[in-house]
């Protein structure tokens, strides 16, 4: 059985990507790094969709369509997030997330 022809391979890949992304989101303090990590998490989700679509779905196109949607949404999200980061930088002169504490209760 070819390794590429199995569902599990892709799921493990997705788990690894998700874990890396989660770690990045939780551990890094730079907002740019956070954004990149979020993209990784999104990609993990996309890979899951594609894998399930390839191996299990009765209709072959649904997963691909959702993946396309995720890519578009990710692009938009990246644009918005970058603009937020720029705005934050203008205000705080830093993009370190630990400095953005104005909403502390």
């Amino acid at each position: 059985m070819l390794l590429f022809n199995q569902l599990e391979t892709y799921l493990y890949l997705a788990i690894v990507l998700f874990a890396i992304g989660l770690y990045g989101v939780l551990a890094r303090r730079s907002l740019i790094a956070l954004l990149i990590s979020v993209e990784l998490i999104l990609n993990a989700a996309s890979i899951n969709f594609m894998a399930f679509n390839r191996f299990l779905a009765p209709h072959p196109a649904v997963g691909q369509i959702i993946t396309l949607f995720i890519m578009a949404v990710a692009a938009a999200e990246a644009a918005i997030a970058l603009s937020i980061i720029v705005a934050l930088y203008r205000k705080l002169k830093t993009i370190n997330i630990e400095q953005a504490t104005e909403l502390r209760g």
Binding site: V25, I97, L103
Partner: protein, 673 residues
């Protein structure tokens, strides 16, 4: 049935014309004085015509009833409608006539007042309420109009609201009568609960005694009598009526002597069978009305404000009517004597007030000693008519009061205990005395009180008759200031009302003011001779009228005795101009202080209402209601503050927490499988 029934149409017009006049004036035309007046006059003339038409042509031996269900709840039906029977039609005529005459009179009296339009709107409101009250078919409907009458009274007493005493008097009238109305309403609740109907015809029928045990009838009757006491100013809640004289004088004539205060007595006649079914209730009525009669007559003897004299006279005459009714109820008589006195009283008391209004308008003062010295007797028409009215009030032969008083005394004479008759005669004596005290002072002014009144500051002395021995013990002006209700007569100088009137230039009596006087004087003269026909109208048959000469002689001699004493004290040349009562200074002071009733109520208010109830309610409000609200607010704020420690503003901690929780939930679900 239907809209083409002329009687129903008349009733509807009677109610809705004044209502629409009130609304129209208040919303649109109150700025335009003449137009407002015209609207109001139209809306009161048509009911007048309807009233007299009904009186002369409508056969109401069998009561005409129109009922429409207004509120239906299971067993309880509350109908709205009209009830035309002799009792209501006669009152309808009285109210419509006096209301119309007063509106005419007010053209002259209120001319130039900045609130002229508002005044006519209020009069229309009063006409609506009073006419609706008179012809209503159910007690709840009557109660609603009863309260509307109270509202109109409040608005009109406080008409010159810029004057502090006037607005205070309005409030006092409203609150005090409301105090009695609580009892009235509870009586209605009792009737609804145990009798199941508030329809007047049903309540008055024999079904009542069959359905309710005697003690319940007594309770309901006494509760309803509380409302009557409030509205008709019976002891001990009569205190609002003398203060109500703060209103314009035509208002006093219309509301506070002839019609509105008579509404209480009217209700007593309206529910006469109900009251007559309970001897206990009638005895209470008799006692209270007798106390009222004596109390207010004695106060009337010492008042120096002409309106105050007539106000206390009104209170005493209302007591006299209630005496007549209760005596009739106890001795199996008819409602005729009391109701007849109501009718004649409406005519001559309205006349007294309207005449006094002419003097007040002319001289700009309420003090009849001042009026006398400034030549009050030169105004011929009002002087003549006021004398006629006073003769009627005293009960002198050809005038209306003689016949009605004689009828009431006749009813009192039927009581087994002759004490009531003696007290009634004594009341008649006092009435003649205080009425002619005013008349003789006005007719034969003396130098004595001349000097006294003109040289001293009218605001800083005790009433005139304590001249000679000075203010009695305890009567100081501090008193009057501590108790704002107990003010000496001189403070009613109608300063607010002088504004638009031009009292400085003497003018004659305009015809719009003298015309109502002449009409009312005519009624005062002829009503006495209508006794037989009125009795026939009211009761269906005229009872055989045997004259008791002993009673007649004693009544007339009481009246003449009162007049003679007044002549001795005030009228004759060289009279001392000191009331006979001043030989007993303690008693005189007691009367000047109005039997300390105002003091009593002030004390009562301070001790019980403010001291106990208000304090308890305030405590409840502060601690329980406010405290509860505050507790909710504080706990919300506190818990928010507590929870805000979670808001560290470290985004990643939040995220980590979220991930951990999700992971925990996921693991739990996996294990659960």
């Amino acid at each position: 049935m239907g809209s083409c029934d002329p009687v129903l149409l008349g009733c509807l017009l009677t109610v809705f014309l004044p209502l629409s006049a009130f609304a129209l004036i208040m919303i649109f035309t109150w700025r335009y004085h003449k137009l407002s007046m015209a609207i109001s006059l139209v809306a009161s003339t048509i009911p007048l015509l309807i009233a007299w038409y009904f009186f002369f042509t409508l056969d109401v031996k069998q009561p005409i009833i129109y009922n429409f269900n207004w509120l239906v709840s299971d067993q309880v039906k509350v109908p709205f409608g009209f009830l035309l029977d002799p009792t209501s039609v006669l009152m309808f005529v009285i109210v419509a006539t006096i209301s119309w005459l007063v509106q005419i009179y007010s053209i002259g009296y209120m001319g130039g007042d900045p609130g002229f339009g508002r005044y006519y709107a209020d009069l229309s409101l009063f006409a609506l309420a009073m006419l609706g009250l008179v012809i209503s078919s159910g007690l709840l409907q009557l109660y609603i109009f009863w309260e509307l009458v109270g509202l109109a009274s409040y608005l009109l007493i406080g008409f010159w609201y810029e004057k502090f005493s006037a607005s205070e008097a309005g409030k006092k009238a409203f609150v005090v009568t409301r105090f009695g109305d609580i009892g009235f309403f509870m009586g209605l609740v009792f009737l609804t609960l145990y009798f199941g109907s508030l329809d007047i015809a049903t309540v008055n029928s024999a079904a009542l005694t069959a359905k309710m045990p005697p003690w319940l009838i007594t309770t309901s009757a006494l509760l309803i009598f509380c409302g009557i006491m409030g509205k008709s100013a019976q002891f001990p809640i009569h205190v609002w009526l003398p203060d109500a004289m703060e209103g314009p004088t035509p208002v006093s004539a219309l509301l506070h002597s002839a019609t509105m205060v008579a509404a209480g007595v009217f209700l007593l006649t309206r529910l006469f069978p109900l009251f007559a079914a309970s001897a206990t209730a009638m005895s209470v009525v008799l006692v209270i009305s007798t106390i009222t009669l004596l109390l207010s007559s004695t106060i009337g003897m010492v008042a120096t404000d002409i309106k105050q004299v007539w106000a206390y006279s009104t209170v005493s005459q209302l007591g006299f009517m209630a005496m007549g009714l209760s005596a009739a109820g106890l001795a199996a008589g008819t409602l005729f004597p009391g109701y007849y006195h109501l009718t004649t009283h409406a005519a001559f008391k309205a006349l007294l007030f309207l005449c006094s209004g002419v003097f007040i308008h002319h001289f700009g003062t309420n003090d009849f000693f001042v009026m006398a010295t400034q030549g009050g007797r030169k105004l011929l028409i009002p002087m003549a008519t006021i004398t006629i009215a006073a003769l009627a009030l005293a009960g002198i032969f050809p005038f209306a009061g003689f016949f009605s008083k004689e009828a009431i005394l006749g009813a009192l004479a039927h009581l087994p205990n002759k004490m009531w008759l003696v007290l009634g005669l004594f009341g008649a004596f006092l009435t003649a005395y205080y009425a002619f005290r005013v008349i003789f002072v006005m007719l034969f002014p003396k130098e004595k009180y001349d000097k006294y009144h003109l040289e001293t500051d009218p605001h800083a002395h005790a009433p005139a008759h304590s001249h000679g021995h000075g203010p009695g013990p305890g009567f100081t002006h501090d008193d009057a200031h501590i108790h704002p209700d107990a003010k000496p007569g001189h403070e009613h100088d109608e300063s607010g009302h002088g504004a638009g009137h031009g009292h400085d230039e003497p003018h004659g009596v305009p015809w719009v003011m003298s015309f109502p006087l002449l009409v009312l004087a005519g009624f005062t003269l002829i009503l006495g001779f209508c006794q037989g026909s009125l009795e026939k109208y009211l009761l269906g048959e005229s009872a055989p009228h045997h004259i008791e000469y002993g009673l007649l002689v004693s009544a007339v001699s009481c009246a003449f005795g009162g007049i003679a004493l007044a002549w001795f004290d005030w009228g004759r040349r060289g009279a001392k101009c000191v009331g006979f009562i001043s030989y007993v200074p303690v008693l005189e002071n007691f009367f000047i202080q109005k039997w300390y009733m105002d003091h009593f109520w002030r004390w009562f208010l301070n001790t019980f209402i403010y001291g106990i109830f208000s304090r308890a309610f305030t405590y409840n409000d502060r601690r329980v209601v406010d405290g509860g609200v505050d507790a909710v607010a504080f706990s919300t704020v506190g818990s928010g503050r507590l929870l805000s420690f979670i808001q560290t503003a470290f985004l990643q901690y939040n995220l980590l927490f979220m991930v951990l929780v999700l992971a925990g939930v996921g693991i739990y679900l996996l294990m659960g499988r």
